[in-house]
Symmetry: C2
Subunit: 332 residues, 2 copies
């Protein structure tokens, strides 16, 4: 048995050696080398060209169908004494395809300076591509209220409004993708920053609480997308201005908070459906905002309960849907 075992072992070793020699000589041969190079090059090419077309077939029409008038979107940007951030934001978004016009919500005591206006006009002309003409308008308000953010804009050509803070930058392809998603669901808010409403029942009554990012991550559900980075239909500006209960608008002005929650309530009350959260990379260029101040979460919890009482119900609908760009996903 020992003999047979060692013979087998010797045989195995010899076979293994033969295979190794064969493999080495084969790989060493120039033909195999060429084949290997070709395989590697082909794989690299394949990886690089995924998403573009290798053949003469292309998509049925370009993905960008937003070139016709009224088919683009308007940016609605709230700004407050941070001119450097404003310039940086406008310079960036002016480059984005599909953009029709930019509306700056101006609530400072002094009107925008001539130099600021000239600079912004110049940077927009310089950065908007393909001969597009992007309009810039200042919506100047005498009263300083967060409700100004959602004032009706009478001469808005685009149906889609991209509401964005002046200190957040999204890459143009993310904005374009969110716009495409919005076109499939034009009655909903479509945005990048989801938030959650938590509810606790005490003695048959519901108490709501504002749950932040971690809660969304933990449960995978949300019921709002913040209006600091979201698309919605322009009709909601009219509804906010004319139909929102005065008590809610007064609360927003007095507390300098929760105008976005009020807008989310309004949209959900109309549609009875949840908003849509779109995956996108956020670049925050500013450092401070009201959400970093102390007591922010408590104030927003207060808003939720107060607004729910005003609406007579909690209109927000929870969901777990996330819209992702399948061109940017490898694993399905």
């Amino acid at each position: 048995m020992v003999m047979r075992g060692s013979l087998l072992f010797n045989n195995n070793r010899r076979t293994a050696q033969r295979f190794r020699q064969l493999a080495i000589s084969a790989v060493g041969s120039s033909k195999i080398k060429l084949l290997l190079c070709f395989c590697i090059a082909f794989t690299v090419l394949l990886l690089l060209s995924r998403g573009s077309t290798l053949t003469e077939w292309t998509d049925s029409g370009p993905l960008d169908r937003s070139s016709s008038p009224g088919k683009g979107y308007a940016i609605l940007m709230n700004t407050w004494k941070r001119y450097d951030l404003l310039k940086q934001s406008i310079a960036h978004y002016a480059k984005c395809p599909g953009l029709d016009s930019i509306h700056l919500v101006w609530s400072e005591p002094d009107p925008p300076s001539d130099s600021l206006q000239i600079f912004l006009q110049h940077i927009i002309r310089k950065n908007s591509r393909n001969g597009r003409q992007v309009e810039l308008k200042f919506d100047i308000n005498t009263e300083d209220s967060l409700n100004n953010r959602f004032k009706e804009i009478k001469d808005l050509k685009a149906d889609a409004v991209f509401s964005i803070d002046d200190d957040i930058i999204f890459p143009c392809h993310s904005v374009k993708f969110a716009f495409d998603v919005w076109r499939s669901a034009p009655d909903q808010m479509v945005g990048f920053v989801p938030r959650k409403v938590c509810v606790e029942s005490k003695e048959g009554k519901d108490y709501y609480s504002y749950c932040g990012w971690w809660s969304v991550w933990w449960t995978g559900t949300y019921s709002m997308v913040l209006s600091k980075a979201s698309f919605f239909h322009k009709k909601y500006l009219r509804l906010y201005t004319n139909e929102m209960p005065t008590s809610i608008k007064e609360f927003v002005t007095e507390n300098r908070n929760c105008e976005d929650i009020a807008m989310s309530f309004l949209v959900a009350n109309v549609t009875d459906a949840p908003p849509i959260w779109v995956k996108g990379k956020i670049y925050e260029i500013g450092s401070t905002g009201i959400s970093t101040l102390g007591g922010h979460s408590e104030k927003r919890t207060q808003c939720l309960n107060r607004f729910a009482a005003e609406f007579g119900r909690m209109p927000l609908v929870p969901t777990s849907m996330k819209a992702v760009d399948s061109r940017r996903m490898w694993f399905w």
Copy 2:
């Protein structure tokens, strides 16, 4: 130098040994063991409970708001002489929450047998949970045409129609998720099986071609979701029945194909927006279908060009949006 080097080495070795001993004795101690056990148990608990609530806070209302009448969906299932598959499908979908009614499109020469009807009624009663009453209706047709699939249903309570083949099973949570997505975009088709239209320009004229699954995977874009597994609004049944050009309906009947492409054209023509593809796991319980027959792709290419000529344009809009359930995603 050599001396110093070896001293250093000895010192290092001694320090390492001391650390090793310390570590071993520490791990060996019962307190540390307990701590380790606690850490492992906590991690396992954390992983298991993700998605459920650890605290007393829960979602604002259940994610399932489809319990009120008219808020659910109806299943519209085309079936043809495959009673085993039919029974299996119905038994499965009867379990799914949100289901209001099942409409079986019956185009066989003989009406459904009593035994089949009794069996299906029984299995639905048995499987539908929480005291729900799921209605079963046979839509019996005298003519055998694929247009029967989209005949108007006059007494449909639900707005949402889930059109599904009898040989495809989706888990209830996938169906529920797609239904939730549809509620955010009720004018669109929302489905699990995306397909792509490719276009080639020859002498200023566009020629369309039907591109399958691989093309969708490769480019990440699509312009249809197949009606063999998709949600749409019941109004499209009325539009298909009453507004679809007769020539297209005749073509569908004669060729026994492309009724789903015709429906996609109709919806896109109304909305001018793309459908929505929802991620979901498909279980195909049958083995054959027209898509496995030879010449399937050529016939569908023919349909695309013919229907585009009838509509006077290509209404289908390409997109790259994919709706995923964020409760089932770990990496964002």
